[in-house]
Symmetry: C2
Subunit: 353 residues, 2 copies
């Protein structure tokens, strides 16, 4: 076994990761819904294979580049879950992709659907209509889903169904209400599309915070991402307990200036995410009362109430606020299992296009 | 000339970059102080060479890994401006580094200085004492700088001088007062070290917001980083006007859902930084009244008051809040000059250790 790398580095507890993957697969199976995990969280071929071998029907990605990477390595069913503006170059890449994988893209407007159909119509690529269930990012009004689906259909795209991302689940106490919003929006969208005569084969939703409350009477597919690792956001939302957190940043204590704990990890390995509900810039796994109160690019500061400061040179486990950001900052994560430590590449890191 | 890459990508205006580099070099020269720019902002060999050929005396880096990369490519004088906990492995790397470059490290405590000296004493590596001038991250109390310097000296390290980072300059209206704090802290630290009989050869400070107010009667060296590119933070602090911003994220309009402008860049290319004073998650260069009001990993939302929405498929220049975070997310930046566009690698990306 090679020694661990110098801090800061991201370490994965493989037993917890496997348990998180298995539990969510079981939850989907017990609800009789398909699981199509979002791989933007881990960007790892190894973890995608774990998910697929545990019963996932395919994967969700954010970009064409992620789709290409995972398809090239055997993930045969990919859904790009953001409406794209398809130009000639994107159309060429999507057509190439569709030669080796089942590909679905998102549409959320009449113009976007017609444009995508103009360049991709007649291919095997399917369209899924995005609707807004309360996050107010992208997505059509659920009542307009039928018109968007018709625009896609008329321009030559096969319509698979409807989807939403209930991103407003990232707020304290919103887990159940956001899942209700999701269910209502998807049911309206499903009915609007069905009223046009287009068959709705998939009704897709899901986020890690709202997962437990997902309405599996309406949804046919779930697309959570963060559940594989957990993070301080999930911990603080109550969506995942501390003992389920499977990824931490190993950091070294480098200072005690004025009684502060100064550690050698910063926003360039943790990410700078701080949700309105976050109580700090990250947390310490073994000091639940502590918070990162200052975060610069390579240093974080914490105060440890009621505890002696860990010694200079000692190591700590830091829990990033948002694990998707942390993973996208490193070229590999270090996977620990029963005394072994090995590097898994973050193969899709930085594939933003 | 190859075509531009798909959006989102980071684009550098080379004329503005050169102007920023030249102006800051002139400012340092006119104040008769040395310029040792922090290369963590750009992580680029090309830009470091521009700075060195404009008169910089050496470079500042954040990590041993950054120092190794730049030294390997000809930057012969590096200062690692964070106190490290030096263990056997770090000591070996630093000794190797010192064979090809002039190397200085930071110390801010008696224990840290003695530890570094134990492993590096007698080498050519010099120590610079960090003091806290108001950011309250790392750094000794200025009054303790003499004791820290003595600890380094007695353990076999040559002491170069004292330094601080006035990070509290990142607050509206704090540019002058933070520079005053910096000057007072450094003068106290300088005098405390000199009182021990150790010669103080360098008194180093500087940040981009406080640069114009730096007290060059006390400081002998400036270490700004962000000035090469600028960003929305500098724009909002009034430290750099909009017309000096030399790096933007090119993004495509992908949605108009409910009257919103939805663009295809998110925190995975802009970074998630949002300072307490920031008015949004980023800005649009050509729409100064607009703000990014929602930022997810691959999408941002803006509202454009008093303007027609740019067409679906059109491109915009997005100004990241914190350019150091944005650059560290990509493998290359695209450098534009008089009709040419070429990629410069972000060679030190991800070198966190």
């Amino acid at each position: 076994m090679p020694g661990p790398p110098p801090t800061p580095y991201l370490r994965v507890d493989l037993a917890r990761l496997r348990r998180n993957v298995r539990r969510t697969a079981e939850r989907a199976a017990s609800g009789r819904v398909a699981l199509r995990p979002h791989v933007k969280t881990h960007k790892s071929l190894q973890i995608a294979r774990l998910q697929l071998s545990s019963g996932a029907v395919g994967i969700t990605v954010a970009t064409i580049g992620e789709a290409e990477l995972f398809a090239r390595h055997g993930c045969a069913d990919v859904f790009i879950a953001h409406p794209l503006w398809v130009d000639e170059r994107a159309a060429g890449r999507l057509r190439d992709l569709a030669e080796t994988a089942t590909v679905a893209i998102a549409v959320d407007s009449l113009v976007g659907a017609a444009n995508a159909g103009h360049l991709l119509g007649g291919s095997a690529i399917e369209a899924v209509v995005e609707v807004d269930s309360g996050q107010h990012r992208s997505g059509a009004d659920p009542g307009d889903a039928g018109a968007v689906a018709l625009a896609a259909h008329r321009s030559g795209l096969s319509v698979r169904g409807v989807f939403t991302f209930p991103g407003h689940s990232y707020s304290p106490g919103a887990q159940v209400s956001s899942a209700q919003d999701e269910s209502l929006a998807l049911a309206r969208a499903r009915d609007a599309v069905a009223a046009t005569g287009i068959e709705v084969r998939v009704v897709s939703g899901g986020s890690t915070p709202s997962l437990a409350a997902s309405d599996t009477d309406v949804l046919t597919e779930l697309r959570p991402g963060v559940y594989v690792f957990g993070d301080a956001q999930q911990w603080e939302l109550g969506a995942m307990p501390r003992d389920d957190i499977a990824l931490t940043c190993r950091a070294t204590v480098v200072g005690h200036a004025d009684g502060r704990l100064v550690i050698d990890c910063g926003s360039k390995v943790l990410g700078a995410d701080r949700a309105p509900f976050s109580t700090g810039f990250g947390r310490l796994l073994d000091h639940p009362d502590a918070r990162l109160t200052l975060l610069s690019e390579h240093r974080a500061v914490a105060f440890l109430p009621d505890a002696d400061l860990p010694a200079l040179g000692s190591e700590l486990d830091v829990v990033p606020n948002h694990v998707c950001s942390a993973v996208n900052l490193v070229d590999e994560v270090w996977v620990q299992e029963a005394g072994s430590l090995r590097a898994w590449p973050v193969s899709a890191r930085g594939l933003n296009s």
